[in-house]
Amino acid sequence: MSASNKDMRTPLARVRAHGSAKSGTGDHIRQRMTAIAMVPLFLFFIGFLVSLVGADYETARAWLGNPLVAIAALLLVVAAIMHMRIGMQIVIEDYVTGERLRSLALIGNFFFSYAVGLACIYAVAKIGFGV
């Protein structure tokens, strides 16, 4: 990344053909949209989980399989996974130095987020469809 001090090219020449920055705010906006979505979803789910205290397995599973609860759960999982992927990426980009280590951390973040997200979605769908 670091341009050599002896580089004779103009700043414009250096950035040309490296793509546009038009999508640069995508993650920034996504981070805030998912945050807004999660405020009511989390307050609902905290109440939901508390109401399940002492419930046996069948009751807990039946409630989680309720379509409205399952849809809210899926919305929450999708929002949370997007939010945490972006958040961890920012943390990595801020603190992890060294090109290779940083790349590995970013790849690991991507894999972990999507693996956990898909596992949650699969589980909620399985409960909801009753299979």
Partner: protein, 165 residues
């Protein structure tokens, strides 16, 4: 850690001009060399700032966010166990009901509420609402106490439903 912030009589970064007479006895120093010779003031290091609640909350927001990131694995375990069957669910329950499991769940509740209330501040500040020193401090303390009160309230309900308290 603290490096020399003031050098050669220049107090601020913008100008690096040093009187030729003071910097080199011969009076011959070309511009490029002169610029290198001057140490510009560095921005203050983290440890010399005084404590502010917004600063502490900013650091905590990241730490708690990373903790919640790891916590999603527990959520996935809980959902998969529920989807798998009563035996898998019983294994999850035995861990969750252990005192250490309870400790983790209480911590998870606090982390979630702290990140949630702390995060709401950022949404306001994005809209330039409450973005002055006094409001920012008040909002930060409100978030701290709302998260603590929320955690206590949630677990008071949980323990009373169990008949523990």
């Amino acid at each position: 850690m603290r490096r020399r912030a003031i050098n050669n009589g220049t107090t601020h970064g913008g100008s690096a001009r040093v009187p030729l007479s003071s910097c080199c006895p011969n009076g011959v120093l070309r511009m490029a060399e002169q610029r290198q010779a001057v140490e510009r003031p560095l921005s203050p290091h983290l440890q010399i700032y005084r404590f502010t609640i917004t600063m502490a909350m900013s650091i905590l927001h990241r730490i708690v966010g990373v903790a919640l990131y790891a916590g999603t694995a527990l959520v996935a375990w809980w959902l998969i166990a529920t989807a798998t069957g009563p035996e898998a669910y019983a294994v999850f329950r035995s861990v969750a009901d252990h005192w250490f499991g309870q400790f983790v769940l209480i911590g998870f509740t606090w982390a979630l509420l702290h990140h949630l209330f702390g995060g709401i501040r950022y949404l306001f500040w994005d809209e330039i609402v409450g973005l002055n020193n006094k409001s920012a401090d008040i909002m930060s303390w409100l978030a701290v106490f709302a998260a603590l009160a929320g955690t206590v309230a949630v677990w008071a309900v949980v323990f009373s439903m169990r008949g523990v308290i």
